[in-house]
């Protein structure tokens, strides 16, 4: 038993729970991949710790990304939630937005005459309206009668509501009515599960604000129960350290704050990988990076600019808008389990349907018969057939059989069909990267691709070539790289407020006062959580030209604002607009829409990558060859295969080459040269 102090990063996926342990003193890394136990995620954590031979009483910190809240929304197990809103406005839950977008693919949606909007997040029978009106100026036009709120709540409770959300018009400008309602409701509702929009998303656009508030209310008991059970179980096993959770924006938080704002965990799954990529980007001194995480069902890509993942102000969960600070990550249905099929027009398509882990790809031999991306790679010889984790035996025979039907229908050889599947999957991933780079004014030729996840390294050089990205980095243990993000993430909180003011009318003193208030709020949360004063405070504003509908985030100076800073702020907006849209209008008036502040304490330093156990050079060359289809026109050729743990820093490899390791396989195509760096990363460049 290893009694040294450890920190754990845990990524709980739908199929596997990845546990990455770093020994605090030496930086030694060990990893375990164990099956996720649905309904009892903590069992997966305990099993992973056991497998690593660790005792929980020597663990000082556990950081994990929890899918509890996301799963609850997808499975519909969130609390029955009632809604109280301004008279005349609660049917926005049904009306939603006008844009036609509810089809399988957004592109098909505008032509779909039969589109059906998702059901309202809160059904009409669980919504009540009260007389009250706050104007856009913040002036109260009609005072709220708290008695009406109580009557509405009683009616909702009688209809089975366990939680209640309150959202009134213009509360972002004046939240007094919502606060009054909350005070009354907390006495009335036995559970105390009450959310008001002023505390969840104090932003303009009331439909999104209503839904966000209701989503939060519905998750209050979900995350509360989860945290309690995790806490108890870990304590039973001797854990006395700190339990932290990943948030959607890529910063971690203690449980206290999240008990009131469970929705902040909604996108905590994919963000770990992007944070890990930003950590590695700094180590490697690469200021422009594309993080690419390809797992079993999805390909999640994110830009990392100046060692940070950009934040957006919202996301969607199961079609419902959730306006919380969220790392800007694009997910498409392209992963190892993505299913290949021929569409109505006779063309080959890959995904978004996935075989998942059950039955899984045909080659798993668990009853899957549909060909997947993994089956295609295995048939081409690019996938390390004896290296998959969790004791799955891969069957090349089953993979081939699954492809035969498809190849026959297309009238081509099995190898050609397999290569076609890979090419189309890579094209889909490349399109996703282009939408994040070229579409937003970034030149992919200036970027480095960091590729990970079980299936990322298989496609990395193909994808880089498709996007004209000149350099690829494949980290050590790519299959569990996301959990490294949990360990290295900052501890951070955001505070936001609405601020609809033309920049010409801004009073600098007033703006400074608003920013300081937000800073105090974020600092307070952080100190409450960590006992520390933030070492980094950041300010930004959402801005737009007058009469524009959508705003852009603009980073602002962090120091107290002076009179001249308004011109600097205006200038930064013009620049941001130019970078995003290719033009700016310096003659046009600019306005503020919302203010955002973040406060952060960096994660305790982790010696990751310094204790490199790779490259036992004395063991000699253990590479071998096996047949790989590089180009289907030429058939299979013998390609060198290296076990990753035997590679030495400085060693050079030349594509085509295959590198196998327990959580992933890397395939490097011809025309790419690889150097193993001092951390053990594979750094590939187009020759």
């Amino acid at each position: 038993v290893n009694n040294a102090r450890h920190v754990l990063g845990i990524d709980i996926g739908g199929t596997f729970t990845d546990v990455l342990a770093v020994e605090a003193e030496t930086g030694t890394v060990s990893v375990a991949k164990v099956p996720t136990v649905p309904g009892s995620l903590v069992d997966g954590i305990v099993a992973g710790v056991d497998e690593l031979g660790l005792e929980l009483d020597s663990v000082t910190r556990i950081v994990h990304g929890s899918t509890t809240c996301t799963n609850a929304l997808i499975e519909g197990t969130q609390a029955t939630t009632g809604f109280i809103g301004t008279r005349g406005f609660s049917d926005e839950f049904d009306i939603q937005r006008m844009a036609r977008r509810w089809a399988k693919t957004p592109r098909a949606a505008i032509y779909d005459l039969h589109q059906v909007k998702p059901p309202p997040f809160v059904p009409r029978r669980l919504r009540r309206e009260v007389d009250e009106r706050t104007l856009f100026s913040g002036e109260i036009a009609e005072p709220l009668d708290p008695g009406q709120v109580e009557d509405a709540a009683q009616a909702l409770i009688a209809r089975g509501a366990d939680a209640i959300a309150v959202c009134f018009l213009w509360s972002p400008v004046n939240d007094s009515h919502e606060r009054l309602a909350k005070a009354r409701l907390e006495n009335l509702l036995p559970s105390g599960f009450v959310s008001i929009s002023a505390e969840v998303a104090p932003l303009v656009r009331e439909y999104e604000r209503m839904v966000t508030t209701a989503v939060n209310a519905s998750l209050l008991p979900v995350l509360g129960d989860y945290l309690q059970s995790v806490d108890e179980r870990l304590h039973q096993h001797g854990f006395r350290g700190r339990l932290l959770l990943m948030q959607s924006h890529g910063g971690v938080s203690g449980p206290g704050h999240l008990r009131d704002l469970p929705l902040l965990t909604l996108r905590s799954g994919p963000v770990g990988g992007a944070v890990a990529a930003s950590f590695l980007a700094r180590r490697l001194n690469r200021s422009r990076v594309i993080s690419c995480d390809v797992g079993g069902t999805s390909c999640d890509t994110a830009l990392v600019l100046d060692y940070e993942v950009p934040i957006t102000d919202g996301t969607e969960v199961d079609h419902y808008p959730v306006r919380i600070p969220t790392a800007d990550i694009r997910c498409i249905g392209a992963g190892g389990g993505s299913i290949a099929a021929i569409d109505a027009g006779g063309a080959l398509r890959i995904g978004p349907e996935s075989a998942g882990s059950s039955p899984g790809p045909a080659c798993y031999g668990r009853g899957g018969v549909l060909p997947t991306l993994t089956d295609a790679n295995l048939t081409l010889g690019r996938f390390g057939r004896d290296t998959l984790a969790a004791g799955i035996e891969l069957s090349t025979g089953e993979a081939r059989r699954s492809l035969e039907r498809l190849a026959r229908a297309l009238g081509i050889a099995v190898e050609a069909a397999a290569e076609g599947i890979v090419r189309i999957a890579v094209a889909n991933m490349a399109e996703s990267i282009r939408l994040q780079t070229i579409d937003r004014g970034h030149d992919p030729r200036e970027f480095t691709l960091i590729a990970f996840g079980g299936a990322g390294p298989l496609h990395a050089t193909l994808l880089a070539e498709a996007c004209s990205i000149p350099e690829v980095v494949i980290p050590v243990a790519p299959g569990v790289f996301s959990s490294l993000g949990m360990i290295v993430a900052d501890h951070s909180h955001y505070a936001r407020s609405s601020c609809l003011v033309p920049l010409d009318d801004v009073d600098v003193t007033d703006l400074e006062r608003r920013f300081s208030a937000l800073e105090r709020e974020a600092e307070h949360q952080l100190r409450h959580d960590t006992g520390e004063t933030p070492s980094r405070l950041r300010r930004s504003a959402a801005m737009r030209y007058a009469l524009q509908e959508w705003e852009l985030p603009v980073e602002l100076p962090a120091s107290p604002l002076q009179r001249d800073d308004l011109e600097e702020i205006r200038d930064r907006f013009h620049k941001a607009h130019h970078a995003r849209y290719g033009f700016s209008r310096k003659d046009r008036p600019v306005e503020l829409v919302a203010l955002l502040v973040s406060a952060a304490v960096p994660a305790p330093r982790v010696a990751y990558g310094t204790a490199n156990e790779h490259g036992r050079a004395d063991a000699g060359d253990v590479s071998r060859t096996w047949p790989v289809v590089v180009d289907p026109r030429e058939g299979a050729v013998e390609v060198v295969v290296h076990p990753r743990e035997r590679l030495v820093p400085g060693q050079e490899l030349h594509g085509p080459v295959v590198v196998t390791e327990p959580t992933s396989t890397a395939y490097v195509q011809p025309g790419w040269d690889v150097v193993v760096d001092s951390m053990g990363n594979l750094v590939a460049r187009a020759a």
């Binding site: 779909d112 039969h114 059904p123 569409d343």
Partner: protein, 103 residues
Amino acid sequence: MKAERVAVREGDVLVIDATSGAGFGNPLERDPHDVLEDVLDGILSPERARAQYGVVIDVRAGALDEDATNSLRIELGRAFATTAPSHTPVDRRGYELAPPADT
């Protein structure tokens, strides 16, 4: 409404009354459970449900009274047949065709 460019001055009140969407088919053939859902959601009153859809709802329990609904629907169906003798069943198929497969 057929009006374009109506000048609205300060103090004017513009009122637009819209009907709900048109119905389709015989209300007596609408699934009573769907009618119940509409009543629970407050977009149809229990009185209308009874008079026009022949659906009897126990308002206090928020539940369907199936026996009463069945006999009321038979009764209303007879009355309907005498007042609208030329009624022919509406062919809903064209409207309810499944959306084309996504391509």
